[in-house]
């Protein structure tokens, strides 16, 4: 079904633009927090460790939350304007609940100096804390609000899709595995929405259980929980949300790239097998975060490596080759949107590859919690997810038939890509040189070469972050010009 109610389309579009503008405000703010951290590590400014770790916590939680929120909202928009009717009331409820959660987190971190890192590894929030006691409660409650908001939105979207397409197994594409002929095509974006968001439901439920345990301990400090169990829970959630953020983006690449290549991208049996396998990999790859916890059952460590390796197969052989099949000899015009999608795929491939290398237990023993890890996930997010998001924003903000982007957008794009790769390269080089991560300062390391390399890499990274911000600014000029021009025409 193609959804054609003009008023509803306008409402959904307005909601998507509200999300887009919110993203465009929050994203550079969070990048600036990262810049401050690298300035401090490079001895170019001085932050107290308490401030550094509060900024690190907000940067991590904020980025994960903002990127997932926008990726989800884009899927909401594309599904809600093409295939199903979604409630804009619920959409705005989710939006405002997320804003409330983000505001609470900002208060907890910036005023209360809450700083146990995004993962709040138990029992750090409660032990030896240098942050205000109240900031623990405010931050945990804010995270619960965020989780409930996302759950509400996800469940509404999944329920509506399942109702429209004849049941849950149908939106997973299982009807393609039967011998009977299909009566109705399932758009790939609907299946990818399902495959991405169902694990999200599991993830948010596990996170909610963990946060309730934290809240209980906040009110009753004598309580004691198992640190290994809680580490499994937080890594399950953390790995999953970053993973599904990218898969949400891939969903709209499947939907939008064919508009530029003129080649259909349809669901078939191979695609269904591949994405259903991905569903399983999303849930269980997280064990690779616990390799250095030798007390974790050995079988789970093996499983972590096997699943991490296996996840590379559908991602590259199906989706990336699918993109190649879309583009190869397609006579495509390299407008800003397909360019962003192509480079986003490259960022995903490179960030994913360095993750697979690190998911090898024998390698992880020397890369775990070194700068290699932020190297991997910044490539995956900044050069993958963020490029996909900007590709989508150019699509959303432009007028149909005028999606070229022009010279300004492309200049911004190249500056951003140069800055981004320079920035992540400093992390990778730091990882190869064994520089530990989450260090507010390298002054305490008595190995001279390690301390000096850490400082120098942070200083060079600062220059590249400034390039990233410059690239963003140039792209903003193009984006908002398009948005306002479109409004004038309307």
């Amino acid at each position: 079904m193609i959804f054609t109610d003009a008023i509803e389309l306008k409402r959904q579009r307005k909601l998507a633009i509200v999300w887009g503008v919110t993203f465009l405000i929050l994203f550079p703010f969070l990048v600036t927090l990262g810049l401050l951290m690298r300035l401090d590590q490079g001895n170019l400014t001085t932050l107290s460790p308490t401030t550094f770790y509060a900024l690190m916590t907000l940067h991590g939680l904020g980025m994960a939350g903002v990127l997932f929120s926008f990726s989800f909202s884009a899927l909401w928009y594309l599904n809600g304007t093409r295939y199903v009717k979604l409630s804009t009331g619920i959409g705005y409820f989710v939006y405002f609940a997320i804003l409330a959660g983000v505001s609470g987190l900002m208060i907890g971190t910036l005023i209360g100096k809450f700083g146990p890192g995004w993962y709040m590894l138990y029992p750090l929030p409660f032990t030896g804390a240098t942050w205000s006691h109240w900031s623990i409660g405010v931050s945990v409650i804010s995270l619960i609000v965020l989780g409930l908001a996302w759950l509400t939105g996800i469940l509404h979207l999944l329920y509506t899709l399942a109702k429209e397409y004849g049941g849950f197994t149908h939106i997973l594409g299982w009807q393609y595995l039967r011998k009977k002929e299909n009566k109705r095509d399932l758009p790939p974006i609907v299946m990818i929405t399902t495959i991405s968001l169902v694990p999200g439901v599991f993830g948010f439920l596990v996170a909610a259980a963990m946060l309730i345990m934290y809240l209980l301990q906040f009110f009753e400090p004598t309580l004691n929980f198992d640190p290994l169990l809680l580490k499994n829970m937080v890594m399950f959630f953390g790995h999953l949300i970053v993973n599904i953020t990218l898969y949400c983006c891939v969903g709209w690449v499947y939907a939008l790239l064919p508009e530029f290549t003129g080649r259909e991208w349809k669901t078939d049996k191979v695609l269904v097998y591949s994405w259903n396998a991905t569903f399983f990999f999303i849930l269980f790859a997280y064990f690779h975060h616990l390799y250095m916890d030798f007390a974790q059952p050995r079988s789970l460590q093996y499983l972590g490596q096997i699943i991490s390796y296996a996840s590379a197969i559908p991602a590259t052989a199906i989706t990336m080759f699918g993109v190649i099949a879309q583009l190869y000899h397609s006579k495509i015009k390299w407008d800003i949107i397909p360019l962003m999608f192509l480079f986003g795929m490259a960022g995903w491939a490179i960030g994913g590859f360095s993750a697979v290398v690190d998911s090898t237990i024998a390698v992880n023993k020397v890369f775990h919690n070194t700068l290699w890890v932020p190297g991997h996930f910044h490539t995956y997010l900044l050069m993958g997810v963020v490029l996909f998001i900007f590709g989508f924003l150019f699509y959303l903000f432009s007028e149909k038939g005028n999606r070229h982007g022009g010279g300004v957008a492309k200049t911004g794009f190249w500056v951003f890509v140069t800055g981004g790769y320079g920035f992540v390269l400093m992390f990778y080089y730091g990882g190869v040189n064994s520089i530990p991560r989450r260090y507010s300062s390298y002054a305490g390391i008595s190995i001279n070469s390690t301390a000096t390399t850490g400082v120098h890499l942070a200083q060079i990274a600062v220059l590249f972050i400034i390039l990233v911000l410059t690239g963003l600014l140039i792209m903003y000029i193009s984006l908002f010009t398009k948005l306002f021009r479109r409004k004038e025409i309307q």
């Binding site: 590894l121 032990t127 490596q305 006579k331 390299w334 590859f353 024998a362 080089y429 260090y439």
Partner: protein
């Protein structure tokens, strides 16, 4: 315990492999940027790409299986095979490492140990690592700043790490898990004689 010795360090090897992977990805990107300007019937183009994909799928699957089996021979987990020459108890506390010879049966909160220790070269040392408060990471660095091995220090759990120091000199212990405000200043020294 096995150690990879083909290249100078595991870090360098992994870095070179990853760089090669990134260059390969960008070769594909450049190939697509150049070739996309030509036009070909979509069925024929798809057929060509999927022919390569089929080979890629089997090649990648076999390659991953081989790497999996090879790499699983080099695990950092404790072995039953080699004889342990000396046992060291390690307790991480905010923000200090405490090390002492022997197995400790004390509550980690009451454990007393120094943040310097001397150990013999070429002996299989077993570190029993735990924490008295929050999670820490026990990372052993050589004097050139190369991270040699590590394990987590988790309250309520003991992680056994075996390591044989091949060269004499001073080795540093850095904290590899964020543990609060002075995480970056938590260090200890092992002298190998």
């Amino acid at each position: 315990m096995c150690n990879l010795t083909i290249f100078p360090t595991i870090e360098n090897t992994a870095g070179i492999i990853s760089l090669a992977g990134a260059l390969l990805v960008y070769m594909v990107v450049i190939f697509l940027l150049i070739t996309a300007s030509k036009e070909e019937d979509k069925t024929s183009a798809k057929h060509k790409v999927y022919k390569v994909r089929s080979r890629y799928f089997w090649g990648l699957t076999i390659f991953l299986i081989i790497i999996l089996f090879v790499s699983l021979q080099f695990l950092p987990y404790p072995h039953t095979g080699p004889k342990v020459d000396q046992v060291i108890t390690v307790v991480g506390s905010q923000w200090v490492w405490k090390l002492a010879p022997g197995v400790s049966h004390e509550n980690p909160k009451n454990f007393t140990g120094g943040n310097e220790l001397s150990l013999p070269v070429n002996k299989n040392i077993e570190f029993i690592v735990t924490s008295s408060d929050v999670n820490h990471g026990f990372g052993i660095y050589n004097s050139q700043g190369v991270l040699l091995t590590q394990t987590q220090a988790m309250p309520g759990y003991e992680n056994d790490l075996q390591y044989e120091f091949k060269e004499k000199g001073d080795y540093k212990i850095l904290c590899m898990e964020y543990c609060g405000a002075a995480h970056a200043f938590m260090e200890a020294t092992i002298h190998i004689y």
